[in-house]
């Protein structure tokens, strides 16, 4: 009974027969605001079920660089 979840170069295994997306994210301590799950090319919603044997891709959706004073000022070259 294994569900494989892959986030970039990390791989997680959940020993469950079935589990809802939101519960899987909670178990992995991943924010549902910051992660989407894709199975066989299909985007999953938070109520969808993962099942034994599934291989699921976790897409991290949050990106961001530095926030310094002139990074956020919106001006060029000033």
């Amino acid at each position: 009974m294994t569900i494989r979840l892959i986030l970039r170069k990390q791989e997680f295994h959940l020993e469950e027969k079935s589990i809802q997306v939101k519960q899987a994210l909670h178990q992995l301590n991943l924010s549902p605001e910051a992660h989407l799950l894709v199975r066989d090319g299909e985007l999953l919603n938070e109520n969808d079920w993962l099942r034994d044997g599934d291989q699921v891709k976790i897409v991290a959706v949050i990106s961001g660089g530095g926030l310094s004073r002139d990074e956020i000022s919106g001006e060029a070259g000033a």
Partner: protein, 311 residues
């Protein structure tokens, strides 16, 4: 728990947006996303079909989604990719350029490419290492290079509007950071539209009301390949820290991010911040004698000083 259904057609939903109490299937989500972008463009009077728009693309999910949506809405839109020379295990900048090129080629769109190393003799990390603003991390120097080059190219090539794909999570992180440090001058300029002035092009953010997971969902559901690798310098950044913290609040209070940002814009517009109203540019700008870009400096602009090591 029952299956989550699309509010429009009752088929299985691909995504739920708790802040809008709305679930949509793939087709209706893609339709909704384009409609909402058009709505933001009109609401904030960003541009019209007569404008010549340049979209800043990074090869990432947000900017390619923005270019795709503006193209679908039949605006006159080209792309600009700035290769910063950021190296990593996966050749971050070159890979990002490849995704941007492929996106443009598939749709027959025009992509302008600037390579910082070819143009200025050094990559952004190399420029930053020699600069007072990039001793530990190149993010500040990188931001300056991007802003300078975006404005320069857009002006030289005759564009009327520069569009960036800042999403609501970006805007909220910026707003939060500016409030935490009471950067009132920066609060004044934070807006979906920054008007053109004194050599600066009009800048717009058509995605400013989308959550970051929504732009990602659009890109995934549209099958747009994009660079999933994060910039190697982003790790540990303040922006990611703020986003993570704000998302924890969002999990408990759906809609708090949207309310924070929209509340800020509404309060500003209604005069609630007194002299913080309006997205004004600095009025004391003069052209840099070296590059011609506007600057508040007496003499060369900060960008020219930085790339020439004379800070």
């Amino acid at each position: 728990m029952t299956t989550m259904l699309c509010h429009r057609c009752k088929e299985r939903a691909a995504i739920r947006m708790r802040q809008h109490r709305l679930s949509l299937c793939k087709d209706h989500y893609l339709e909704w996303f384009v409609e909402q972008t058009e709505r933001a463009i009109k609401k904030y009077h960003m541009f019209t079909h007569d404008d010549k728009i340049l979209v800043a693309v990074s090869g990432g999910k947000d900017s390619l989604a923005l270019w795709d949506v503006l193209w679908k809405l039949e605006y006159q839109v080209d792309g600009l990719y700035i290769n910063l020379g950021i190296d990593s295990e996966e050749d971050y900048s070159d890979e990002s350029e490849r995704y941007s090129r492929e996106f443009a080629e598939e749709r027959g769109l025009q992509l302008h490419i600037i390579n910082v190393e070819s143009a200025y003799g050094r990559t952004v990390p190399q420029i930053a290492r020699k600069s007072r603003r990039g001793k530990t991390k190149p993010c500040s120097a990188c931001g300056m290079v991007k802003r300078h080059e975006m404005n320069r190219i857009a002006r030289e090539l005759g564009y009327s509007v520069l569009a960036t794909a800042h999403n609501l999570d970006d805007e909220v992180a910026i707003l939060f950071g500016n409030i935490m440090t009471w950067q009132t001058d920066l609060l004044k300029r934070q807006s979906p539209v920054l008007e053109a002035a004194d050599g600066f092009l009009r800048k717009v953010k058509p995605f400013c009301r989308f959550y970051e997971r929504e732009t990602a969902a659009y890109t995934l559901l549209s099958n747009i390949p994009y660079i999933e690798e994060e910039c190697p310098f982003a790790e540990g950044s303040k922006q990611l820290y703020y986003k993570e913290m704000i998302n924890k609040m969002e999990e408990d209070q759906p809609g708090i991010k949207l309310a924070f940002y929209v509340g800020f814009l509404n309060t500003k517009e209604s005069g609630g911040f007194g002299d913080l109203n309006g997205a004004e540019r600095n009025n004391e700008l003069k052209p840099c004698p070296k590059c011609g870009q506007p600057t508040t400096n007496t003499g060369e602009c900060a960008f020219c000083k930085m790339v020439n090591n004379v800070e």
